[in-house]
Subunit: 457 residues, 2 copies
């Protein structure tokens, strides 16, 4: 599809956001509402979340407006009165946003962000808000798990071909960098986010040459300062021996073979053998790069078995967060026109009122406990996590450099006790609620039961 | 992020496509190559694939060109010689494409499409080709499984908030429609693809009113001809009784309550009770619409238990294909400059030579067996599936209406024997190779082993 035919992103939304907006308009409901974004439950194997996706979301909110061709489409659906569509033409996002900064670690039930705006605005942005934060947070979290498994080895995002669309590829490159990756194969992400980009050759390149070794020589000639050779097209060990020949030829020219890449087979066995071939031939400096079906589980497993690998290309299973491809994330109204609200739907009860999240640490600075309280509470010896990031539709700060966000993540990750980093998950980090928040829940639930159920039970 | 800042889609690619291209350029390798796209193995629970994603891919190929700002970025990386970048400036896609049409059913190992073009072109489009076909085929297949589970009940795509980005939301809306859905909540997909759009209200709408029943009345007033009420915000059965009251009020005005929506709780029990409430109140025409965590498994389970549901909103688990979020799809070179090629990488052996897929049917017209043969073969009593769709960079036909593609799918799906539609999967549909293809494999493998391994083993 052509990007320029897609129109504005404001109608990248569920139809019900617009039908509700039309009804709010007809009912003259323009009072402020607060909505809260949170994750209901941990996906399999997870026990923490790495926040990501805020900056692109703030860009969206700041530039929110319906385009003429979108309004024309809405008009053609015959669902909406003209005066509502005229109103939409001038509509901008004028609300406030508080959020946990990108790169910080959060937990289930905690508001990751809260939006306070005239109800129609807060409602209309719902679909985009969830969409933007859900995938980024999912991927930053997955990336952090790969980082944990890889220790001090380097990780590169190789997922673009299997991400769910090209936008997802960009979001994955950005979010995996936040979660500790050193870069990506995604050229567009290099251009758009300034991320380091990596890549050398595929099997098809090798196959265009009459002999594998000719392809190695040709690539070394084209990229003498960044030669990484893919050696498994026909046979990994034969490929390694040919790479040694080329490394010797390069040395004579004053050049260095940087690395070889393994992409198939028994990575433990092959990496050890390839390491030995290079070491015994006098090339201990040649690095071994591995790709092919990696994720945190496979990385942990082969390193535990002694694989000799210096860096990993992590693709598909990172890019779709294969073992947990979505977060059960919700964006729920918690206050309307100053009145705290909640829903009582079975299994999906929400917490009323604007909130704050407080983090308590132990003597060593490790995370001890989080507390969810009301927005105007303060808790001694605890750090509030939600920060104001947008006021009346304007960002309070510019975009943060991604390297700074990664650094923030790395600092936090050190403070997360080891037991919660287990790849099988350990979802019992204590997240409590303050007594004031609990009292409000009880009060509001009781009022609603009385008002809504007595007559109709 | 802003769409207009993203630049051209040509650098939405892995860096290695460009480094290989630079080396092909330096080596003056401009000979034609054929690449073949196929799925290596069935994901869990699957035993067939519903082809989708071709039309957007052909649009991409037809408009392929590097934009000045992209070339400027590539120049800044210092990876590429200027004369290569000058060459890219004029580069267009001038190749041929043969493909299995969208909506048709295919199986693992079968080429879903083949591209023949000067090697650099065929190489540069790899990332986009896999990305475009992978997700669409995944989702059409998932949608067809929901259709199988739902029988004659209607299905609507509700996934946009949890798809991996907004582009994915568009692709999911399109692909799920191909796989038998009647429409989507995604407004942009309605505009862009002309798909029917659906949606009414969320819990937050209900909560902005002092009383739930007021929200029902207000919505009926705003949308008197399309009133669907969400009744589980506080208590589903109390909500149903309030909806009856509103239905009675609407009837006095000559209007009809169209449906109610259930979004939580025990769907079997609640749907039966809600059906009874409406039937006993004289509203047998009010439909019951259900949403909340549905996929093919949950649909099948609750219908088997007697749930009284007329239509389903299927969201997250469709939109990310939750039980199988990716296909192991590969795009491999099979011929270069008239010479058949393959790779022998452990577990990833590819089949040499351009190919055709042939389908054999039994007396009733049901699928009996598929045969993969060489591109110039013909097989009697079998239908060839790969059709020419692009010649020298130009599409041979315009975009097909999505309704026609859905119809093609529905016709094929009837011909797929029931055992392969089982939701737990039955991945043993016979896909054989012709003797000519096998002979070519043996020959090429033997040649490669001799040429590449003898000296270095």
């Amino acid at each position: 599809m052509h990007r320029d035919q897609q129109g504005g992103r404001e109608i990248m939304t569920d139809l019900y956001e617009l039908t509700m907006a039309a009804s709010y308009f007809e009912q003259e409901k323009f009072a402020p509402a607060t909505f809260s974004l949170f994750v209901r439950e941990y996906p399999p194997n997870r026990s923490y979340l790495v926040c990501a996706g805020l900056d692109p979301l703030l860009n969206y909110l700041e530039s929110f407006r319906f385009r003429p061709d979108d309004l024309e489409f809405l008009q053609k659906t015959s669902l909406f009165p003209d005066k509502f569509l005229t109103y939409l033409e001038k509509l901008r996002f004028t609300g406030d946003v508080r959020a946990i900064p990108e790169g910080r670690i959060a937990f289930c039930d905690e508001p990751l962000l809260e939006i306070t705006a005239p109800v129609m605005q807060a409602q209309l942005v719902e679909t985009f808000v969830i969409n933007a934060i859900n995938l980024s947070t999912l991927i930053s979290t997955k990336a952090s798990r790969c980082l944990y498994a890889a220790g001090d080895r380097r990780l590169v995002d190789f997922s673009l071909r299997r991400t769910h669309g090209m936008d997802a590829g960009l979001m994955v490159a950005r979010a995996s960098y936040i979660g500790g990756f050193i870069g990506t194969s995604n050229v567009q992400a290099g251009k758009f986010y300034g991320l380091p980009i990596y890549g050398t050759m595929a099997h098809s390149y090798v196959e265009t040459f009459d002999q594998e070794i000719d392809s190695f020589r040709a690539f070394a000639k084209s990229f003498p300062d960044n030669t990484v050779l893919l050696i498994d097209t026909y046979d990994t060990l034969a490929g390694a021996r040919k790479a040694v020949t080329v490394a010797q030829e390069m040395r004579k020219e004053g050049k260095t073979l940087r690395a070889v890449r393994l992409d198939s087979g028994d990575m433990v066995q092959l990496s050890k053998q390839v390491r030995e071939i290079f070491d015994q031939s006098g090339f201990p400096e040649v690095r071994i790069f591995a790709s092919g079906g990696f994720d945190e589980f496979k990385i942990q497993k082969i390193l535990a078995a002694g694989a000799q690998i210096d860096a990993f290309g992590v693709g598909t299973r990172l890019g779709v967060s294969a073992d947990a491809p979505y977060l059960n994330m919700a964006y729920k109204m918690v206050e309307y026109n100053g009145r705290p609200v909640l829903k009582l739907s079975s299994g999906k009860v929400s917490l009323a009122g604007p909130k704050q999240v407080f983090r308590q640490r132990d003597d060593q600075g490790l995370f001890k406990r989080d507390l969810i309280g009301l927005g105007d509470e303060s808790v001694t010896d605890a750090e509030p996590l939600l920060m104001p990031v947008m006021k009346e539709g304007k960002r309070l700060l510019g975009s943060e450099p991604l390297a700074e966000i990664q650094l923030r993540f790395r600092k936090e990750f050190v403070q997360l006790p080891e037991i919660y980093k287990d790849l099988q998950g350990n979802p019992n980090y204590p997240v409590d609620t303050t007594s004031r928040l609990r009292a409000l829940q009880d009060l509001v639930s009781k009022e609603i039961r009385q008002k809504e159920l007595t007559e109709f039970e």
